[in-house]
């Protein structure tokens, strides 16, 4: 019992002093102790834990910028093309939302507005903020940044809703007279979501830690 107590006390003091040296492995969630080495591997799953900080930083920027560039055609090109007896009408994401609002289906208009306009924009803003604030040591709580990153990761895939809806509609409304099919906007939107997810995944939470 005495031995256990000593260990307990030892760990408590360690927690007090070197809190920031404990790192959570991305892959297996094991707690690792960073011993000041340049490169080390997770004690449990042997995946690489430590890479030079700038790699993660630049990779995240690269994916983010790709996603922002793709966001432009995703909004300008039609996501949905309707062919009704030879007459072709195209609708973009925003156009579709406005149309839904005018028709009166407010809940769906809101769902799509949040999923395909707000979520990507929020992700852009969050990741940019995280990158800039970790680079220039902006004074804000570290816990908040971790929470922000957690939210960014969680909301990411939900912007795919619009693309899936378009795909489902294009399968169901596929008659000789009336046809619906996805346009170029759908492709670039799907790619945009893909790259924002990659960008969030490549962001290293250790960047947050290193600020002080």
């Amino acid at each position: 019992m005495n031995y256990g107590e000593t260990i307990n006390r030892r760990m408590e003091t360690l927690m007090m002093i070197e809190r920031s040296k404990f790192i959570r492995c991305h892959t297996c969630e094991a707690v690792n102790y960073e011993g000041g080495k340049e490169e080390f591997f997770c004690r449990r799953c042997q995946s690489k834990m430590h890479q030079p900080k700038y790699i993660s930083y630049h990779r995240t920027w690269a994916f983010l910028i790709t996603a922002i560039i793709l966001y432009v055609p995703a909004n300008l090109y039609p996501i949905l093309i309707t062919k009704q007896f030879g007459v072709q009408t195209e609708s973009t994401i925003l156009g579709g939302i406005i149309h839904l609002w005018e028709v009166g289906s407010y809940p769906i208009a809101l769902i799509i507005l949040v999923a395909s306009v707000f979520v990507p924009l929020l992700k852009f803003i969050f990741i940019t903020y995280l990158l800039i604030s970790t680079k220039y040591n902006v004074n804000s709580s570290r816990v908040d940044k971790h929470k922000l990153f957690y939210i960014t990761e969680a909301i990411g895939p939900w912007s795919m809703i619009d693309v899936f809806v378009v795909i489902i509609l294009s399968v169901l409304i596929h008659f000789s007279g009336v046809q619906v099919f996805p346009g170029a906007g759908a492709t670039s939107f799907a790619l945009m979501v893909f790259f924002t997810m990659l960008s969030a995944l490549s962001f290293d939470t250790k960047l947050i830690k290193k600020e002080n």
Partner: protein, 215 residues
């Protein structure tokens, strides 16, 4: 330097990154983060058996969901049904290869791979064999978990149904119910299981085969 046993006493909250020291729990107990109240770990002695049963069931219902008609609509006598096969046929016909490929991976392959590798992990742990395969599968699982979009597909399905509600008569198929079942089970699985717990279990079943390189 700290040993593995000592490090295993710690846990870091996945949401706010706060370091905690573990305390023993009673069976079925939960531990919450002291800062943000997120669930950080729980004790469940029958986790492997329970999750294995859920995984097998959801694997079966996933295969059913992929096989049959999800919904079919009827507009003034014109009928059309949505199944996974017709979905890919239409996407290929419209030459939407990028979207089709993403769809194939995010909706079909990744959820299936996730459930089947979960099954193999738990099954191998149960019979206490193939430690290397279990380890690779656990690493694979941790990468896959971000890319499973089955739940989002289902929400999109509901949105599409509401959109069509005014023009068409909608009938739900077998796959629709199978989808609901799969998603419900998947929710239960992800709620029950934690990767930390799985890895701990892995260490317990197979012992310290791999010497630790951190020391």
């Amino acid at each position: 330097m700290l040993s593995n046993q000592e490090l295993d006493q710690f846990i870091i909250c996945k949401k706010c990154n706060t370091l905690h020291q573990k305390i023993p729990l009673h069976q079925g107990g939960k531990a919450l983060c002291s800062k943000c109240n997120t669930l950080i770990y729980r004790r469940d002695d029958n986790m492997v058996e329970k999750t294995l049963a859920l995984v097998v069931t959801s694997l079966i219902s996933l295969l059913i969901a992929f096989q049959f008609t999800i919904i079919s609509i009827n507009i003034n006598g014109l009928e059309k049904s949505l199944s996974l096969l017709s979905l890919f046929a239409v996407l290929l016909e419209h030459q939407q290869y990028v979207v089709g490929l993403m769809f194939l991976f995010l909706i079909v392959l990744f959820p299936f791979m996730m459930l089947s590798s979960m099954f193999f992990v738990l099954f191998f742990m149960k019979i206490k064999k193939y430690s290397y395969a279990v380890k690779r599968l656990l690493i694979l699982l941790s990468h896959l978990k971000h890319w499973n979009m089955l739940d989002i597909f289902f929400i999109s399905l509901l949105v599409a149904m509401v959109k069509l509600f005014d023009y068409a008569r909608i009938e739900v198929g077998i796959s629709f119910i199978a989808f609901i079942l799969t998603l419900g089970l998947e929710l239960m699985i992800t709620k029950d299981i934690s990767f930390d717990e799985l890895w701990r279990n892995y260490k317990q079943t197979y012992g310290d085969i791999n010497d630790d390189r951190t020391e």
